[in-house]
Symmetry: C2
Subunit: 240 residues, 2 copies
């Protein structure tokens, strides 16, 4: 199979295309200061909020609860994180928490993201294959100028990555064989799950996703189809 | 409720945004001539193919068959129409019929469509709420330059218009109340179904959708929220 067989590139989003930690910490700093806390805790707050991401989705993947979109999981997790930080969610107006929860809709793209996507879009179908829900992805795209052809991912597939259904149903909606779709991610585990489903794979490192002292996903851990320094480099390797 | 409450405009596509009859007839003429027939039959062929559209979806709406995407219904209907025109589908390579079936993916937008959508996109979420499936809508958008924020509609909602689920699930995916979504269509029946679900409504006439002698949907038949001459006029009325 060659590059010519690939018809669509689908993307992990949180970490791969946008800086979730910086974006959430920026809004957390304002929130914490408004509630008499130090903005210094903002990075830790973002990390704590994100730490509840996989366990919340695992309850859906395991069948313990029906598919529930990420905005709702984020909102539930926010109350738990506030408690962890000694802030009682019940003391805060629900509308303020709802608004803070939308921090995930306002994450900034990495510097190469928009140019890389635009170049890939000139020759391929491009869509997110994110665990973020459709409205979250729409708002983020309008905020950061991400030029998607369509919004796909967990909500449309009704399954969270790395469940095989998330990948296979996305290929089905695109009316493509798995081998005609390439998953792009900064996370080796996402690519491993996609590859098991027959997808092509492309790795780009995001060594500061978790801050300066990141130790994971610094390099490709398997024999991925493409390894690029960033999205623009991936586009160049593909000749677009 | 005022304009300020509307957050998203969703669109009927076949007829409202693109010229399905002209596009299908253009490809039908080539197909018919290749098979020893007159290109003069092309408009009638397009009409006959389209005539099988509602009955095919009705079998899904009634529960007689599970949700089946439009590409498959179009492909089934193509074989029936060929038979109606005295051409035996079995005599033609499946790949050629598959390719002809994609005529629906290559329909041209009306002259005002792209500018109108781009203007509306500057202030609102815009997405198709079409009975066309996701891949069909992606290909059409890439062909005609339709600048969607997301691809929604029957396949994502798993329900065909005018079933209420098609509208209500779309609003749910957008995380909007029905009254925050405006349906735009050239068909009064589509708007009536959307309005029953609580949507706002906008009518634009497409008096040549069915050719020069069209008799239906020449004007608004109810008290829609907006009536415009075309999409650019609608954008102007909305001040965008």
């Amino acid at each position: 199979m060659t590059t010519a067989d690939v018809k669509a590139f689908v993307f992990d989003v949180f970490g791969t295309l946008v800086d979730w930690r910086g974006g959430v910490a920026r809004e957390a700093a304002v929130f914490l200061q408004r509630h008499g806390r130090s903005g210094q805790e903002a990075d830790a707050f973002a990390d704590a909020w994100r730490a509840r991401y996989q366990p919340a989705m695992q309850r859906v993947r395991s069948g313990e609860r029906p598919f529930t979109k990420l905005d709702i999981l984020h909102r539930e997790n926010l109350e738990a994180v506030l408690h962890e930080f000694g802030i009682e969610a019940k003391q805060i107006p629900a509308a303020e928490l709802d608004e803070f929860n939308l921090a995930w809709h306002r994450l900034d793209p990495w510097p190469d993201t928009v140019e890389g996507l635009a170049r890939l879009k000139s020759q391929y179908i491009i869509a997110p294959l994110s665990n973020g829900n459709v409205r979250l992805m729409i708002d983020m795209a309008k905020h950061g100028g991400l030029p998607w052809d369509a919004i796909l991912g967990a909500e449309v597939a009704q399954a969270y990555k790395p469940s095989p259904e998330a990948y296979l149903r996305t290929a089905g909606i695109l009316a493509l064989a798995p081998g005609e779709v390439c998953m792009v991610a900064a996370h080796n585990s996402d690519l491993a799950a996609a590859q098991k489903c027959g997808f092509r794979t492309a790795f780009i490192p995001r060594p500061h996703e978790h801050g300066a002292s990141q130790t994971t996903n610094l390099k490709p851990e398997h024999n991925w189809d493409w390894v690029a320094t960033d999205l623009v480099d991936l586009a160049k390797q593909l000749g677009v």
